[in-house]
């Protein structure tokens, strides 16, 4: 008993100790070390890039995946050199905080199902059908709406169990943003958010929680990031995109969404890649964003940071694809780098030339 308690105290002290150590590093902002914090969705790829970049160039990039909310708060408080967020900030909020925002990498959200006898890519769903399922209006797998979209497929008379994220997440933000765009009813009743009042279903913690629930529950439908659908081998659905075509979630269809989006006319790169035009476009795609202060205090450090991002754009594509992220299309990278050139200043002089 006492031993357990003592152990607990020691662990706690250790945790407190390490956290304060981290904070100390973050605040110190030592040269040659770049600190970033924020979204957990891109963490695997950022960590890989940072690791490879350090081996190649000797510059250490330390990224802490503390959640988008924390990332935004920390970059505003200047405790980190860059922040990262899954949901883009509005131009107004960026302006108020003096921040520059640009997309770094793209990912897709995939509805996954568990229906006995139905494999991957066999069920076709329209946007409104998906919204109505998550609204709890379509309750059975053999509902006329679903069977109408899937002639010839034998769907059981099983109840549909909706599985959603329980924790606040950028994935949920992208998913609900999509549903709000395609369904007025969803927009009015539920809306867009990192956490929303779900009309029906159970909540799993994290992508792995949702994946586990979907695999467990017969008749379930959930949504996860692409990598989790692949890794867990859970059947995905084919979704009807804005062009009316049914598409499968692949790196190519996510990329198509980014290509067709009108980045040039998005103030502050406020761009949500859901429901984008294009025949081959996967409709639930989202970019994850980096946030920087427009006025950089230290020109050397600012340049080191941009060099890293530039390297990621140039040479990070394979790493990203291996981890099932979609690299940013070349034309978009050019737009981003033009923005660096025009907006980022250190001591009044442009950082990126």
């Amino acid at each position: 008993m006492l031993f357990g308690k003592a152990l607990g105290t020691v662990t706690l002290l250790m945790v407190v100790g390490t956290t304060s150590l981290f904070t100390a590093c973050g605040k110190g902002g030592s040269r040659g070390r770049i600190n970033g914090a924020g979204a957990s969705f891109p963490y695997p790829v950022y960590a890989q890039w940072a690791h490879r970049y350090h081996k190649l160039k000797g510059v250490r990039v330390n990224y802490q995946s503390i959640g988008s909310g924390g990332g935004i708060a920390q970059i505003k408080a200047k405790t980190v050199d860059f922040g990262a967020s899954d949901a883009p900030l509005r131009a107004k909020e960026l302006g108020a905080a003096g921040l520059l925002q640009f997309p770094m990498v793209i990912g897709g959200v995939v509805p996954v199902i568990h229906v006995p006898g139905v494999g991957a890519g066999q069920v076709k769903l329209s946007a409104t059908a998906l919204a109505d399922i998550f609204r709890g209006k379509i309750k059975k797998w053999n509902d006329a709406v679903i069977t109408g979209l899937n002639p010839g497929l034998n769907l059981p008379a099983k109840p549909i169990h909706v599985v959603h994220r329980a924790d606040g997440s950028g994935t949920t933000w992208i998913f609900t943003n999509y549903l709000s765009k395609v369904s007025a009813a969803w927009k009015n009743e539920v809306g867009t958010g990192k956490a929303v009042a779900w009309p029906t279903g159970v909540g799993g913690k994290g992508n792995e929680g949702v994946a586990a629930y979907v695999k467990r529950l017969s008749g379930a439908i959930g949504y996860v990031e692409y990598a989790y659908a692949l890794g867990n081998k859970i059947p995905h659905v084919l979704l009807q995109n804005r062009a009316g075509k049914f598409v499968a979630p692949t790196i190519e269809t996510f990329g198509a969404a980014a290509v067709h989006a009108d980045w040039a006319h998005a103030p502050g790169f406020y761009m949500v890649l859901t429901n984008q035009p294009g025949d081959r476009t996967w409709p639930i795609t989202g970019a994850t964003f980096i946030l920087l202060h427009k006025k950089q205090a230290d020109a050397t450090k600012a340049r080191a940071m941009l060099n890293f991002f530039d390297w990621c754009y140039r040479y990070g594509a394979d790493t990203a694809k291996k981890l099932h992220y979609v690299p940013l299309p070349k034309p978009v990278v050019k737009l981003v780098q033009d923005r660096w050139r025009s907006s980022l200043r250190a001591a009044g002089r442009p950082v990126w030339k």
Partner: protein, 312 residues
């Protein structure tokens, strides 16, 4: 007391007394500071929702509506389920270990129980999700549904996760703590007292019921409150299996949430001030519940003591 040189003793004593007093004061200070901070950071939500926060079941971050009722309900119900399972079981295990088991078994099982107490709660959560939940959904819940399905407690699809599973997991987690304390309490009952009862011809059961348990009632209650304290704030394990839905249901099969699980789920991505404030207020509510339960427990224990003093 052996006589040492008076001045040394008094100086040492004085230092010792100050150290202990400061340590004790520190506890109060920390509790006070936590309370103040909780109130400070939840002021936005306190002003916006007032007392409605406690009774409203609406929880809609997208629209900025927050109510704690479902979280409070889930916290209390999951804790109650856990205690209902863990307390009787712990009592029986502790009695077995102290009164009935041969010393070597008692030692081995005792060690094993202490080991259980050291398992981190995330492990219980994973185990609950990947092992217990499938068993619940395939065997336990369908069986309960078939036999007792007419009761609202056992209605709904057998998903394996939900309030009942959460209560069960918490019960497993607090069991070692309660058992370990109860065992120590039973050990402290003087043999003379027990032997005299046996000498009067009492059976083991009678000795237990009328001598051992009343003798150690304070310690036993302490064990229960230790378990309660852990159960009410248990976070990770609950988050994995409770189903995480802001929803009140009578069924043990249906998903719910607790204050701790809501905090674990939603704090990291809560970027709007009101949302964050509402989450902090949830923490304040948990603080309040624990505080009230402590006071209630003390009052109840005092009455119990009085009653027993009269009856014996």
């Amino acid at each position: 007391m052996p006589a040492a040189s008076p001045s040394a003793t008094s100086l040492g004593d004085r230092i010792f007394r100050w150290v202990t007093a400061i340590s004790a004061a520190l506890v109060l200070l920390i509790i006070g500071a936590i309370f103040v901070e909780l109130v400070r950071h939840s002021s936005l939500s306190l002003h916006r929702f007032g007392l409605d926060f406690l009774t409203s079941t609406r929880w809609n971050p997208a629209k900025g509506e927050f109510g704690a009722a479902s979280s409070i309900f889930g916290t209390l119900v999951s804790t109650a389920i856990a205690l209902a399972i863990a307390v009787p079981l712990s009592l029986v295990i502790a009695l077995f270990l102290v009164e009935l088991a041969p010393p070597w078994i008692s030692k081995v099982v005792g060690q094993a129980i202490e080991l259980l107490a050291a398992i981190p709660s995330i492990i219980y959560g994973m185990w609950g999700l990947f092992v217990l939940a499938p068993v619940m959904s395939e065997y336990v819940q369908p069986a309960l549904g078939r036999t007792l399905g007419s009761l609202p407690l056992f209605r709904g699809p057998p998903m394996g996760i939900g309030m009942g599973t959460a209560g069960l997991i918490i019960a497993l987690m607090i069991l070692p703590f309660i058992t370990a304390v109860m065992r120590d309490v039973f050990r402290m009952v003087p043999d003379v007292v027990k032997e005299s009862a046996y000498g009067m011809g009492a059976t083991t059961w009678e000795v237990t019921r009328q001598v051992t348990v009343p003798y150690g009632i304070h310690g036993l209650a302490g064990a229960v409150f230790l378990g309660l304290g852990r159960a009410i704030g248990e976070t990770m394990a609950v988050t994995f299996v409770i189903g995480n839905k802001h929803h009140i249901s009578a069924s043990l099969f249906s998903p719910g949430n607790s204050i701790a699980s809501t905090l674990a789920n939603e704090f990291t991505e809560a970027s709007e001030p009101l949302y964050r404030s509402a989450l902090v207020e949830l923490g304040l509510v948990l603080f309040g519940i624990t505080f009230l339960l402590q006071i209630g427990a003390h009052l109840w224990l005092r009455r119990l003591k009085k009653k027993m003093a009269v009856s014996t």
